[in-house]
Amino acid sequence: MHDEIYKKIEKDPRFQDLVKRRQKFAWTLSLVMLAIYYSFIMVIAFKPEILAMTISPDSIVTVGIPAGIAIILSAFVLTGIYVRRANGEFDALNASIIQEASK
């Protein structure tokens, strides 16, 4: 029942543009998250002594603790960045593409 509209949408250059941009944005953010997490895991696997270093000579707090907390915060911030753009800019474009195709 949606076949006609799907065809129209597929031909719409704005749809191609939306998908391309949203996809690129999502992949970029995913790679950032994966890079952060797997650098952490690789350090634990191969060079755990880096995380065991203290943050300053007179403190016993290790680098690992602020690093770990920072990763937790980065996960939250990255989701915030994505939702803001996807629910704003991308959804507005999406709505106008559907409206155009439904005419």
Binding site: I9, F15, S30, I44, A45, I65, A75, V83
Partner: protein, 556 residues
């Protein structure tokens, strides 16, 4: 509401009202007086149970159609769903297991919790909106969208049931130990009680009741954990350095608790655990199901944003709570048995800490919350497991889509009861296992069977039924076999000398096996059916991107 159910309700309420007396009777019998009856704990738990049963009653009157039953009619908001996801995900294993792990080995607990969290951004970027746009009740709806219904739904349902079973056992074990410690009730009674309540929430209230149980529990847990963390920090003058210094002074492992330790001992285990936690989250059936309870992709995205915030905040609290327990619990003989071990095991660190910082009343509150946590998680799991059986296996495979909604819901409720009995039995059988590792195994299966098929079905045009089916099964079986041959089952449970497979976490191998074989058996599939399913990709793709034609978006 028919008279039978109404009478059943009265019976349940009478039973619930009698529970303190039962508990009292039992604690009197335990003349050794190990755990005296904690009146505040029992009262607060009772309030929670009565309150949630009330919600279940309310929800049962609003649950008529299959859509109501499975997904609360798609009428949950993004914020509510974010809380409910957090409530679903912050399990007893997270709260008791991870704070216990921090108590035992410090920094290693943080490694675990980070792994549990970082799957969420990936779910948002890669899966959430497409899943919402394509699916109806289960992730198998999406995975089988353009592939063979029978093959893919059976695979996904079995994958779901394996995850649900392992996760359920972990929760049941946690609940048994907790209530044993709190009420002085025998472990078996506690497990049976949890099983009965969970079956009640799910069969009568469906997704609507389950969602609200999860939301209430999430709010209570976040409040309780916040209070505990603040009280811990108060004793150190709100100075983290003081917290860590004092902890290393009293901990037997000294300063090594501030660095990566023995939990992840070699590179393969580290990478494998990381993969299991990250992609496992994206293959948990009870979590994926939550995305169908919101109206559209916009709300689905918001759900993940809020959930990530709540879960991340909670893990930071858990870390503080674990260190607080080193400081305030390990040094206090009140919480140790004759041999010097923590009463109830290391997983009870957070529970003991609640008494140390807030006395009996707060101990009661946290115990009730921990109990509520278990109930909320097992309800979500049971609903997901029952839906896999009723919607995927019964309605779409066995009846080939030709059955009424009423029949489907009936099968779902029968499965729920069966799962309840199953959970009680295995909960009793697995009493002595470490609950955090049990959840790790569930993640490995989710990451190796559910996730690869779901992901490739949405992203790869070349995926065929044959590829998805063979590859998915290989992923699932590889994960299960390697777990059985690995140290946890082969040595610790079966009692052999050395493990055949040396690593605790099989995900690295099983995920690779799944993706490689899905790819291989898809590209070599030259059947007409393969060409047909590739042809359906375009429509699926446009729907997944735009949300046009997606289920239930207009129902409310």
């Amino acid at each position: 509401m028919n008279p039978v159910i109404s009478r059943l309700w009265k019976g349940v309420i009478a039973l619930v009202a009698m529970m303190p007396m039962l508990a009292l009777a039992d604690s009197v019998e335990l003349s050794g007086g190990q755990q005296a009856l904690n009146i505040p704990a029992v009262s607060m738990f009772m309030i929670f149970v009565i309150g949630t049963l009330g919600i279940t009653y309310w929800a049962s009157r609003r649950t008529q159609s299959a859509s109501d039953y499975y997904t609360a009619g798609g009428g949950i908001t993004g914020f509510q769903n974010g809380l409910a996801i957090a409530g679903d995900y912050m399990s007893a294993a997270s709260f008791l297991g991870i704070s216990g792990l921090v108590y035992l080995s410090g920094f290693d607990g943080l490694i675990y919790s980070i792994g549990f969290l970082v799957g969420w951004p990936i779910i948002l970027f890669m899966i959430a909106e497409r899943l919402r746009n394509l699916g109806k009740y289960t992730f198998a709806d999406v995975a089988s969208y353009r592939l063979g219904q029978k093959e893919i739904r059976i695979l996904s349902a079995i994958g779901s049931l394996c995850v649900v079973a392992l996760y359920l056992i972990a929760q049941m074990v946690g609940s048994g130990k907790l209530i044993e410690l709190l009420f002085g009730l025998p472990y078996e009674y506690a497990v049976i009680l949890v099983g009965i309540l969970m079956v009640m929430y799910v069969t009568f209230g469906g997704m609507l009741a389950t969602t609200w149980v999860q939301i209430i529990k999430a709010v209570l847990l976040l409040l309780g954990a916040t209070f505990m963390a603040v009280m811990v920090m108060k004793t150190t003058g709100f100075d983290f350095t003081v917290l860590f210094e004092q902890a290393t002074e009293v901990h037997p492992k000294g300063e090594s608790i501030l660095a990566p330790g023995g939990l992840v001992s070699d590179p393969v285990s580290a990478i494998s655990l990381g993969l299991a936690l990250m992609f496992g989250t994206a293959g948990l059936p009870h979590i994926l199901m939550r995305f169908f309870t919101v109206s559209d992709a916009k709300e689905a995205r918001k759900s993940v944003f809020y959930a990530t915030g709540f879960i991340g905040y909670f893990y930071i609290l858990t870390f503080i709570i674990g260190f607080g327990a080193i400081l305030l619990v390990s040094t206090n003989p009140e919480f140790r048995d004759a041999a010097g071990a923590l009463i109830g095991g290391n997983n009870m660190a957070a529970i003991h800490l609640s008494k140390a910082v807030g006395g009996d009343v707060f101990l009661g509150f946290i115990s009730a919350v921990a109990f509520a946590t278990i109930l909320a998680v097992v309800s979500g799991l049971t609903l997901a497991g029952a839906t896999a059986v009723s919607h995927d296996l019964y309605a779409n495979v066995f009846k080939k889509g030709k059955c009424t909604e009423a029949q489907e819901i009936k099968v779902s409720k029968m499965t729920t009861v069966a799962l309840g009995v199953f959970a009680i039995m295995l909960g009793i059988l697995f009493e002595q296992q470490n609950i955090a590792f049990m959840v790790g195994l569930a993640f490995a299966i989710a990451a190796s069977a559910n996730f690869p098929v779901l992901f490739l079905s949405m992203y790869w045009k070349g995926l065929t039924t044959r590829g998805a089916m063979i590859g998915g099964w290989i992923g699932l079986l590889t994960a299960v076999v390697l777990v059985i041959l690995g140290p946890i089952v082969w040595v610790d449970i079966l009692g052999f000398e050395t493990a055949i497979f040396p690593y605790k976490y099989p995900a690295l191998f099983s995920i690779c096996a799944a993706f490689t074989s899905i790819w291989f058996f898809s590209v070599t599939d030259k059947s007409a059916e393969a060409t047909h399913s590739k042809g359906l990709f375009r429509g699926q793709y446009i729907r997944s991107q735009t949300g046009l034609g997606s289920a239930a978006a207009s129902a409310h």
